[in-house]
C-alpha cells in the first residue's frame, strides 16, 4: 500500500519549506542533522532566525565557499559552516545551558518513531549489534521550548513512524509538539495526533491508513490554542 508513497505528497524541500513557515521571526533554533538542516534554506522573506549548534556557536551561517572553510568551524553534523555577524562562540557546558535552560525556542529533529503521547525515539533501534550513540538529542528534547519532528511518514519498509506507542528506546517522554511528513502536518495534543494540514492531493483517510494511531480531524493544540491561532 505504500509503493507509491515516494511520488505522493511533499518533497523533502516542501516539508522543510512548510515547517519554516511556522517559525516566528527572531527565534533561536537548533536544527538536527539530515532533513532538519534543509529548513535553513526556506526561511520566509522578512524573518530572521538565529541558529544554534550545540558544539558551541550561536549565529551559524551556511557552508563556506570552497576553500574558505576552517576545519574547526563546524556544525553538530561535523560539516564546515560559517559564523554570521553577531555570532558568539562558547564552550559545551554553556551551550547545553542554553538548551537545558529553556533558552532555545525550537529544535527540529528527525525521528524513528513518534507516539501519540509525544514520546520520541530517534537514537537507537535497540538492536544488540548496534553501536549506541545518543549525542545531544536527549538534552534537546528535555530542554528546548518546542520540538518539531520532520520525517518521512513511514519507514522504508512501509511501517508507520507515527505510532500508538514507541517500540524503540525513547529519546524523551511526551516531548514532540508537531510532526511534518510528506503527507501532512500533525500536532501532538493531549487527545493524540491531530491533523493540521494535508499535503496537496492527499486525503485524510490516506494519512490515517499510514498512521499507527488515531488521527483527529481537528483539535486543540498542545498549547491550548486552536489550529487557526498558530503562527
Amino acid at each position: 500500500m505504500t509503493t507509491n508513497a515516494a511520488q505522493i505528497g511533499w518533497t523533502r524541500e516542501d516539508m522543510a519549506r512548510r515547517l519554516a513557515l511556522d517559525i516566528p521571526n527572531g527565534s533561536y533554533v537548533n536544527l538536527g542533522i539530515g532533513i532538519p538542516e534543509l529548513v535553513a534554506r526556506f526561511v520566509p522573506e522578512g524573518r530572521t532566525l538565529i541558529y544554534h549548534t550545540e558544539n558551541g556557536l550561536l549565529g551559524m551561517g551556511p557552508a563556506p565557499r570552497e576553500g574558505l572553510g576552517d576545519p574547526e568551524l563546524i556544525n553538530a553534523g561535523k560539516q564546515q559552516v560559517t559564523a554570521l555577524p553577531g555570532a558568539a562562540y562558547f564552550h559545551h557546558a554553556d551551550s547545553f545551558a542554553m538548551i537545558r535552560g529553556g533558552h532555545i525556542d525550537l529544535c527540529v529533529l528527525g525521528a524513528m518513531q513518534v507516539a501519540q503521547n509525544g514520546d520520541l525515539a530517534n537514537w537507537s533501534t535497540g538492536e544488540p549489534d548496534a553501536i549506541p550513540a545518543v549525542g545531544g538529542a536527549m538534552d534537546l528534547v528535555a530542554g528546548v521550548k518546542s520540538v518539531f519532528v520532520i520525517t518521512q511518514h513511514c519507514t522504508k519498509n512501509g511501517e508507520p513512524k507515527l505510532v500508538d506507542r514507541c517500540t524503540y528506546p525513547l529519546t524523551g517522554r511526551g516531548v514532540v509538539n508537531r510532526v511534518y511528513t510528506e503527507l501532512a502536518v500533525i500536532d501532538v495534543t493531549p487527545g493524540g495526533f491531530s491533523l493540521v494540514e494535508l499535503s496537496p492531493g492527499v486525503s485524510f483517510e490516506y494519512v490515517q491508513e499510514r498512521t499507527g494511531a488515531p488521527l483527529l480531524r481537528q483539535g486543540t493544540l498542545a498549547n491550548g490554542t486552536r489550529h487557526e491561532d498558530r503562527c
Binding site: I50, L57, L58, A87, I99, H103
Partner: protein, 236 residues
Amino acid sequence: MIDKRAPGPAAAVADVPDGATIMIGGFGEAGSPIELIHALIDQGARDLTIISNNTGSGEVGLAALLKAERVAKVICSFPRTANSTVFPELYRRGRIRLELVPQGTLAERIRAGGAGIPAFFTPAAAGTLLAEGKESRSFDGKEYLLERWLRADYALIKGRCADTLGNVVYNKTARNFGPIMAMAAKTTIVQVASLVPPGGLDPEVVVTPGIFVDRVVEVAHPQHESELVASGATYP
C-alpha cells in the same frame, strides 16, 4: 532584523509588575546598573524580591530602591558594607526580609537556574547554621547540601558594550554576576556604555551571547555609586 534596543532605561523597565523577582548585577558598585535601578524607582513597582550580592551603599542605586520601600525581600550574601545603612535600618525595623546565601552558592544557584539544573549539591555551609532545613547527603565521605536553582522575572545588569542582538562584553570585575543573571531571568535588560551593530563584537570574545538578553539600553556615561555617595547624592 532582530533589534533588542530599548529607547532608554524607563522604557526598558516599563513592564515590571508589582511582586516581581529581580536579579540585579554588581558586586559593590562594580557592575551595578544604577541607571536601570533609578528607572525602576521612577517606575514604581513594589513588593519586589531582589536577588543581588549586596544591598547597596548610601542612598542611591540599590540602596535607594530599598529606601523607597519597594522591596519585600532580599536574597544576598553580604547585606552590610561600608556606607550601607539603609538595609540594616529596614532589617532591624522588620520592614524587609533576608535570605542569606553563601556567595558561591548564590552564584551557583543562579547559574543552575539559567542552565536548567533544578538542584545540586554543594559543600558550602554544610554543618553550619545556614544548613538548617536543608537536605544534606554524603558523597565519597564528605557532606554536601542540596541547593535549589534561583530564577527571576527580570535581570538588570550592566555591560561595557553590546550589539543590537544582545551580545555583551563587560568591564573588568564589573562582570561578576552579570553573565549568570542574564541566563536565569525571563527578561534580561542590559545597560551598556556603547551599542554596536551585529559584527561589532568579535564572536570569540562575547561573554554573554545574545540568546540570554532581551533588551539593551545605551547609557553612554553611567554614574559611579562611590562618587554619588561621596557627593552625598540621594535618589530620587
